[in-house]
Symmetry: C2
Subunit: 115 residues, 2 copies
């Protein structure tokens, strides 16, 4: 993903589909996210992270201030608490229409920025 | 829209459909947005405003630090330069699937925040 804006901060957005039959589970989990999962995100440089819902689409916006988003994602994926969290949240989701093969959350293309 | 996060800052997201036949026009305009339009947004309290594209969906994220988003939107809509800008950008867009009657950009529901 390309960097945008303030040096050292990348604004990253992505989209995924919420399975309607699992929407209640998803919303309940995200209303009280696990502190351990939040701490891992913070530690690798993720901040100002929001998720929004429209229909059955979930849009994610976050700001990454670390060196390598690829390395940060790998570190997140090694965290045992995050893996347990994903075991609950992954069944609530499926790739959005238009996702690339193998994509889970689909990275979106930045087309405008006003800082 | 509900406020979220830091006191005095609202994180607002919305979605609209990009008309595929007008995508080039839209992207060209937003690659070099008019300074007058940007100045009006800043003046009413809009900052950290990004737009992202996936397929034919445009996802907007912004932070509003003014008193009333309703008043700010009305002030934006009174700006002559913004009206000229919209005369070019509006034909590139149409309401997203699932939009409420009368909605242009559909406001999204916030479901998660990590500050």
């Amino acid at each position: 993903m390309p960097a945008a804006g303030v040096a050292g901060v990348q604004r990253l957005a992505s989209v995924i589909r919420l399975r309607p039959e699992k929407a209640d589970d998803y919303l309940r989990l995200h209303a009280e996210p696990w502190p351990e999962v939040m701490a891992t995100l913070k530690r690798v440089g993720v901040g100002n992270y929001s998720i929004f819902l429209h229909g059955d689409l979930l849009f994610s916006y976050l700001e990454f201030s670390g060196e390598s988003w690829e390395d940060a994602q790998a570190e997140i994926a090694r965290d045992p608490d995050t893996r347990r969290w994903w075991a609950l949240t992954d069944p609530c989701q499926e790739p959005a229409p238009g996702a690339q093969p193998g994509e889970w959350w689909s990275a979106m293309r930045p087309v405008f920025l006003l800082e």
